[in-house]
């Protein structure tokens, strides 16, 4: 591998780096290629840290600042790794008064992380949402695409055990 890949190889496999290069190559000569490149890179690499942004900026001949501006604007792009599963706790009014906050506390404690962070084993990313329109089921947590209603802090472990 080339010397310029050293930084990338600290975080990604050779195959991932090759994939990133091929994504850049595909959009290199097309105007407006930045967002499609970032989208595919996010999917292929699961996150877009500084080293990847640098490679994309160089590859597309764009200022680093532009790449960074776009990455931080869209919530789809993340600069830190996401977990295999995303756990969203609803903190809308109904869920909140029915114990949503306690659920967040339990999850933070269990995972040892804060909202917006990912567990060290990269299994779970914890997030909060403001209302899922499932107020009748509150408090609600959503794991990936599955909605789990009327969850008590004691039941959290059981729910999560379905995901591995």
């Amino acid at each position: 591998m080339k010397a310029e890949d050293t930084e990338l190889l600290k975080e990604f496999t050779k195959e991932q780096v090759a994939k990133l290069n091929s994504i850049i190559e595909k959009f290199k000569s097309k105007p407006g290629g930045l967002i499609p490149v970032l989208e595919e890179a996010q999917v292929a690499l699961e996150y877009i840290p500084i080293s990847v942004q640098k490679r994309i900026a160089t590859g597309l001949n764009l200022p680093l600042s532009r790449v960074y501006g776009v990455v931080t604007f869209y919530s789809f792009f993340t600069m830190t790794p996401r977990g295999k599963h995303t756990v969203r706790v609803c903190l809308g009014t109904a869920c909140y008064v029915r114990g949503g906050k306690a659920l967040t506390d339990t999850l933070e404690k269990q995972f040892g992380i804060k909202q917006g962070e990912t567990t060290p084993d990269r299994m779970f990313t914890l997030e909060s949402v403001r209302c899922l329109g499932a107020c009748g089921l509150g408090p609600v947590i959503v794991v990936d695409e599955d909605v789990h209603g009327r969850i008590k802090p004691g039941k959290v472990k059981e729910v999560l055990s379905q995901y591995n």
Binding site: E7, I50, Q53, K54, P63, L64, S65, V67, Y68, T72
Partner: protein
Amino acid sequence: MSTVKLTIDNRQVEAPIGATILEAARGVGIKIPTLCAWTEINHTPGACRVCMTEVEGQRGLIAACVFPVNEGMIVHTNTEKVRQARKMVVELLLANHPQECNYCVRNGSCELQKVAEFVGLKEVRFDYTQFSRNELIDNSSPSIVRDSRKCIECHRCVSVCEQIQTVSVLTPAHRGSKVKVVPAFDLPLIESNCITCGQCILVCPVGALYEKDDVDLVWKALNDPTKHVIVQEAPAIRAALGEEFGMPPGSLVTGKMITALRRLGFDKVFDTNFTADLTIIEEGNELLKRVKEGGTLPMITSCSPGWIKFCEHFYPDLLDHLSTCKSPQQMFGALAKTYYAELSGIDPKDIVSVSIMPCTAKKFEAQRPEMNSSGFRDVDYVLTTRELGRMIKEGGVDFVNLPDEDYDAPMGEYTGAGTIFGATGGVMEAALRTVYAVVTGKDLPSLDVTPVRGLEGVKEATVKVGALGDVKIAVAHGLGNARKIMDKIREGKADYAFIEIMCCPGGCISGGGEPIPTNNEIRVLRSAALYRDDGNVQKKRQSHENESVKKLYDKFLKEPLGHKSHKLLHTKYVKRGTELPHRNDG
């Protein structure tokens, strides 16, 4: 040009197709406040929402800076609804803007202050301390301070950095209420590719971007009886300093500036123009040497430290094209603590060398590690025009009514060639005058080399120089224009012998340290003042006629490009590249 007819505030108005309401209104003297539009650089993001107007048939209020005029349109800029809306917008802008106006660097020149007055704001019902952004002030750069707390997200700095200078350090990042203007990865400015030109400061409407203030350090030196404090001023200062005291742009205030500096307590008042003349001798001879000995051509001027840093970042492969001459500021610094120390019998360790520059990049340049060839820091402190203005005010000097005084010897004499260094094309013109005389033994048929003057982005000319034949030259100002020439060199398509590049649009007269406002109209007036100094005020107009420079060679340097010159007046450059250092801070 085809036009449309419309009505603004019951007046019939004609405006070009494609013009915005703001432009049409301005054209007929109707004022619409704005904090983001800067039409000179095509920056109209419609971001600040202050320019609210009513357009009949349109729902809601319209942002005048982005809405194009069309035939028969009826616009109202002064209705109750408009006035209330503007007031509300400004009030909301102030809701999280630190109310530190009394001690803000932009007190008096702040556009937000002026707009608040314009819209007749009488109160702000929000306590800014409740909402203010929890941001740290970034003073990592030796040149530019960023105070994001005060930023109103107009994004002018982003445009000027990206469109005009093509450096693209700053970007809006994040989203919603968390949006802020930052370098990539929220890095401190010093770790970015910032070339420290300070053009962002000139367009900032508020105090979110400003020069690193070194005034107190200079006061301290002046107050120290053991120190001998000398000062040099760049040519662009004399063409702009008056504006800090309400004088009209284009006032040439050389004499008053000298008097003011003496009254502030400087022991000797010298002139950067002296070393500008010296630069021409060294650089002119370097050019001739490269032509004769087959050195790297085209040779490019190296007086502008923002341009140098730009070249080091973005064209590290072309550094050999740069003249090895230090800038006049640094030549002065190196001579101050050697030649002047020797002549005056003052120990160089007791000399404090201060320079007054139109430039924030000069602060960076003075701190470059290699700028110590005198054995000391060659230039100790650099103040911008604005900082000197503040110092003069603080010192209680009535600038406008000062008598004119003259420079001290031996580093105060200058010619017209030295003074036009401050405007785009000036270094080229000064060099041509001397190179022509050296080669042919005669003066240029006309000392006014007009093709290199003016605000056109890239200027080209061919000058017949005796035995050298036709010499093709180019001049660029603003780094976007510099890029055009540099790309040509990279492609091997540049057949010039000599190129002048100045970092800032218009040259030093609109450097990042010059008075605010600076715009194209003011650029023209300040340049005109320098050409007046050259054409009407100075008796000598060619650098090689400077008697003090001749004496410097006789007594000290011996010859251009000689041993001493190489040690004191020439320098090397650093390949920086464009990659940011990778910081693993999680």
